[in-house]
Point group: C2
Chain length 423, copies 2
């Protein structure tokens, strides 16, 4: 594993100097290569699925394992779209004369070597490998063992296309055992960033076992808060969409908070709508005084159901709603429904989450919907990148300083002086 990581590091230093066109050509060649390798890819996937079915893998997991015509054209479209995006590398974000003849430039550049660990879905391999190439990073990839053959076939097709385009041989590395992952997590001098994509428990495990920075999220405990002044029809729409548009994902709402002034008018209208949608509401004591529903466990809020279930709590004030979210939320996305713009402003300033929404569904919290074109995932940490992460999150920057023999001694002695003039 150390050898793979060292090779990836060496490749990353070459990648950092590659031209924009070369990286885009490599992405387009990868799209063609996948198209050509189609039969091979489908065979590998069929073998993986047969094995998995034999081993009794649960149907939802079997479903995620599928790599078929639909998935293939999706990843090919993704590769082409990514090749069309502007260059995230080499952007000058600051240029300043420090003193005559001495100029400072802050320029975006790749991070280096990125370790990516994902569960099940083999299309994630293509998506993340291509994002790394677009941003000039080398990637070490580990997919779910149940998709082993598919992942290897995808890796070979991509790697071969990238090499043929002229990228370093070791731009991509494949890990195939848990043991390799364990070793990778310890290689903090060679690997700059880990991106885990998978279940809550899986991500926690990665975070616990590595000193390498991790970008991503474990929980997605999103809230919708219906304020004292609100538009009932709008609140119903937003709560319904936040909970039911796709319940199994991280940006679906898990808890509904309702201001005590609104609870009597809102909850009786919400209940039949949620019943129709198949959602079970779990209410606090005050909620159950208004509508009939099972009891919520009030000793521990912040449950992530990822299912058609929702906790409901009546609160006395905006402040109580904010405090609830900051205490039990996961810093992912939280929405307020209100016609009071001062309340919205307070909510959006004080709620400490990556996404703070006013009068819209939490389900909008997503890189594609934000218009980032491609997405690594959603980060709930506060450093580096926060919220949906596109190509920008896979870059860092360096300071280039260009002089004509300038010394600090001359500045200190007063022979020259700082101008700090932005160019």
């Amino acid at each position: 594993m150390k050898d793979k990581a060292e090779k990836a590091r060496a490749a990353s230093l070459v990648l950092a100097a590659t031209e924009f066109d070369l990286r885009n050509t490599a992405l387009r060649m990868a799209a063609e290569a996948l198209q050509k390798a189609k039969a091979n890819l489908f065979d590998a996937n069929r073998a993986d699925r047969d094995d998995a079915a034999e081993q009794g893998l649960a149907p939802p997991l079997l479903h995620r394992l599928v790599f078929d015509e639909g998935k293939l054209s999706e990843v090919i479209r993704g590769l082409t779209a990514l090749a069309d995006l502007p260059d995230p590398i080499g952007r000058v974000t600051l240029s300043r004369e420090l003193t005559p003849g001495l100029c400072l430039y802050r320029v975006t550049c790749p991070i280096g070597v990125i370790g990516v660990i994902f569960e099940s879905r083999p299309d994630a391999l293509v998506q993340i490998a291509s994002l790394c190439v677009k941003t000039g990073n080398a990637a070490l990839l580990k997919g779910g063992s149940e998709a082993k053959r598919t992942n290897r076939a995808l890796f070979e097709a991509l790697g071969e296309a990238f090499s043929r385009a002229g990228l370093p041989q070791d731009t991509l590395g494949l890990m195939e055992t848990r043991d390799e992952v364990g070793q990778m997590l310890g290689l903090d001098s060679l690997i700059d960033l880990i991106i885990p994509r998978g279940s809550n428990a899986f991500v926690r495990e990665i975070i616990k076992n590595s000193r390498i920075p991790v970008m991503g999220h474990a929980d997605g405990v999103c809230h919708v808060y219906v304020d004292a002044m609100y538009d009932k029809e709008m609140a119903l729409r937003v709560v319904l969409d936040s909970k039911t548009q796709y319940a199994a994902v991280c940006n679906a709402a898990e808890t509904l908070l309702v201001h005590t002034h609104s609870a009597d008018s809102f909850l009786p209208c919400l209940k039949p709508m949620m019943d129709d949608a198949g959602v079970t509401l779990y209410g606090c004591r005050r909620t159950r005084g208004i509508i009939a529903c099972p009891e919520a466990d009030e000793t521990g809020w912040g449950r992530e159901y990822l299912d058609l279930k929702m906790d409901v709590r009546v609160v006395d004030s905006l402040e109580e709603a904010i405090a609830h979210i900051n205490r039990y939320g996961s810093g992912h996305t939280d929405a307020i429904v209100t016609t009071d713009s001062a309340a919205a402003e307070t909510f959006m300033t004080r709620v400490d989450s990556a996404g703070v929404f006013h009068n819209c569904s939490t389900r909008f919290s997503d890189g594609f919907r934000y218009g980032f074109g491609a997405e690594v995932g959603v980060a709930t940490g506060k450093l580096h990148a926060r919220g949906p992460v596109g190509t920008e999150g896979l870059t860092t920057y360096k300071y280039r300083l260009i002089g004509k023999g300038h010394t600090v001694g001359d500045m200190a002695s007063g022979r020259a002086f700082y101008t700090h003039k932005d160019l």
Copy 2:
């Protein structure tokens, strides 16, 4: 300790909503408070120094402990200058219509709670506490135990001024024992970032013992590389300044690399100049074939002398110089002296350091010299902030999304469509 951290967390949520003017007023009131507390501060510092002298603290450390008229006016000037800087919070860095009526804004905001651990110099307490307030963060501070009385006096004067200005009571917290620091390092759910300022070993120890992200640097192993085509007078100036302008700091050069084509002409001129400056050169075998000097330990480059000592190595090519730096450097700052602009470009692209300099001294790598006004420190990590870190490095951002009842269901069903129009 957990109680202190929880109070800081609560304070941080209020701080995030404070107005720019209030934070600046607090900084100006702190400047006045320190001026008024002068006698008290000097008494405390005198007592600390008496104790330290009695306990036989080494003279350089005793020197760092001093908080006198000079230091006081320096920190007061710093507070006033910081109050004059623009607001790092609330800057809109992206604004986009996602679909008619639904607008996305990316807005800078504070990180939250920052743990700061620094050795010796009590003025660091003022500097960092004030940077945290400017950026709307709460701070937990721990200084060197030898400056205990001074730190407490500074903390009390600042804390009292901040409260009087209207900031939350717990904006600043003081830790006074090692035990508290140990506990703090484990509070990753309450503390967002650790900034350690001190020796190499000290910073490594912090990094090893915490899962909280750490911003800063352990080593500063900076290089100057003199290329095949070079201006001799310029090279001499840059090497001399990089090594000797202030040898005890992280941005001083520790290793000189010389292209084999230049070694014969350059080294014999450098030697007497370095002798005059009191610098001992440690040469590789080839260096010692040209000038007389003690032998460098070639089995392990990358020594951080922080002293008037420098390793010298002759290399065969630009590539060898780059490989040396990427292997033995610390990613802090590295300079090339060359008249060949293609070589400079290659060097600056391929050297994987926060600062890559052309024809100027490594000593310029500093927040004040870059014109950032105030500095937290220099970060050698690649995520979040890199290089000299000013107020920007103490901020993060959140996404605000404002709609009129927008749902993802409407987008998915085609009743509405994404426009992704930047505003």
